[in-house]
Symmetry: C2
């Protein structure tokens, strides 16, 4: 009791490699980060995955029944299976037995469970999923949101994404003054579809963010933006494309580099460098996306997540807890508006 340690509920049954890789990532996080983990899922399967480690380190298992399968319609699945692992994990946050949820399961189901069990933060119309992408600069990443929670958006949703994204970028990703861009098809303010044109005007007038203008497709990875906002349709398409492109490039390298005798020798010499390239490009290194705007911290990891990815996701969750992301988003929308006369 009284411990300030972050407690993180892990959906041990969610993802292509559940529970073994999920449990392995959670165990590593418990060892290397200052966190407590609660493994939510089928007790016997989790115990089998824990193996001998279960005895040496007692770890809390919270039993659940079933999961939402990838083909299931999220909302009806969540309602039909109240004891599914993702629901139980969200309940732990609602009951304040945990501070955050990490899941690599059905992302739509995670969002539905978060909305139904935790609800939205005050002032937020629609939660968004943020994804962190690498940029051309080795030490810089960019937060893209929304990447799939809201396919049809209104300008004020994107404005809220911009504010939430700025807070996340500043407090979790450690960017001093996040530069916010609006995904668009040209640099000029009048460019774009109806949504983009109207959103541009709102972002320009928003004093809570540092809006630096439109970000074209080519600018996303330039390192010139810390946060890029867009509707969930464009964002989802881009994110999945980006992930696939990384894989395509690694595939082309694999095919083309070793060709010929020189190629064979060259690749042998380059092994460590190629590994570093894979790390810079591979999305598994980037942990997961945060579901921003719900009344709880939820990290949504890729379905293909293995232990390192889960470890990174737990690290992200801990950062979000330690830096009070939820409180900062809420207080942003609770502050009384400044009287007009004081606004510059």
């Amino acid at each position: 009791m009284g411990s300030a340690r972050a407690r993180i509920a892990i959906d041990a049954m969610g993802g292509d490699h559940a529970p073994a890789e999920i449990v392995a990532g959670a165990l590593r996080a418990r060892e290397e980060l200052d966190v407590e983990v609660l493994l939510v899922g089928d007790s016997s399967q989790i115990e089998a995955a824990l193996g001998q480690q279960a005895n040496s380190f007692p770890i809390e298992i919270v039993p659940s029944e079933g999961t939402i399968e990838m083909h299931e319609e999220p909302l009806s699945g969540i309602k039909r299976k109240p004891k599914a692992s993702i629901n139980v994990a969200m309940d732990l946050v609602k009951q304040k037995r945990a501070d955050a949820v990490v899941s690599a399961g059905h992302s739509g189901a995670a969002m539905a469970a978060a909305l139904l069990r935790l609800g939205r933060l005050k002032g937020i119309d629609r939660p968004a999923i943020g994804a962190v992408l690498p940029t051309i600069l080795a030490d810089k990443s960019v937060l893209l949101l929304d990447v799939g929670a809201n396919v049809d958006c209104r300008p004020k949703f994107l404005e809220q994404f911009a504010v939430m994204g700025s807070i996340y970028s500043q407090y979790v990703l450690g960017v001093a003054e996040p530069k916010v861009g609006l995904l668009n098809i040209g640099e000029e303010p009048g460019k774009g579809n109806d949504l983009a044109i109207r959103t541009h005007q709102m972002l320009e007038q928003n004093q809570k963010i540092s809006f630096v203008g439109n970000a074209e497709g080519r600018d996303i990875l330039s390192g010139n933006f810390d946060v890029v906002v867009c509707d969930g349709f464009a964002g989802n398409v881009l994110l999945k494309f980006a992930e696939a492109v990384g894989e395509v490039m690694l595939q082309i390298l694999k095919e083309e580099l070793p060709q010929g005798l020189h190629g064979f020798m060259g690749v042998a010499l380059l092994k460590p460098n190629l590994k570093r390239i894979k790390q810079r490009v591979d999305h598994a290194e980037h942990g997961g996306g945060l579901l921003l705007g719900v009344a709880g911290i939820c990290i949504i990891s890729h379905g293909s997540s293995q232990a390192p990815s889960i470890f990174n996701a737990i690290r992200l969750a801990k950062e979000a807890i330690d830096h009070q992301v939820l409180e900062r988003i809420s207080s942003n929308y609770h502050q009384p508006a400044a009287p007009a006369a004081e606004v510059e």
Copy 2:
């Protein structure tokens, strides 16, 4: 007279490297392909670019005055400068002195000029710009459209893009039965934003195309689709992102591969293989996009085009002429609809 040779009007003043690289690409095309080229632009600048070659091979120069600059609003620029190179080039097609236009200038201006001077094909509400991207399969590409002509679309526009894209894929790119996909955020028919859901239904019922379902971001480069349709906002963002990603990857390779002594030696051994990778990834190798749906063949090349890119663009134009793409699109919309009883 009476020659069946394709005559291609080249906007010699359009693009970052005009006129030198444009002229160089055109000269190479005239030598290697069975085409006549008409160079549209400032005579003295073109003659300087032609240099000594002007004397050995007489080549037709069609004088024009000025160009539409990149910062200019396309439609007003096109109207204000009737003798701009892109306008003169389009007029050559209208007057049947040329069969096609190739331009690396302002793409919005090229589209505006085509619309104003040539008009739309019957049955087409909105022209689209198609871009050809490489896929994970070395011998397969994918046509993405629209990549920027129409930022706000209706389902029937996307349906027309699908029909035009299929014809282009079949007759210019040589795909026997092009598989058409709809850009979307999930595989299931009910997924997506309002536009995608309604378009899906129309594409499923269209007998003129081989619709194989939704294409997610990750599927675009999979080689499973020959044509992917989307609104011009998503398409433009994706295309520019794809181009940038190729550059980012090449940059990461450049930074990481030569690290250390082994890296230095490895890269030296891999030079030819790295060059082949660059060719597979580099957008300059892919010539340009076709403006589909206007009453003339117009290839819109990348602003950064150099001679090889212009050469490829002229090759594309010739293919489109030889395979009567315009006639095929038109006849598609002129054929009397089959009586309902005969439709399966």
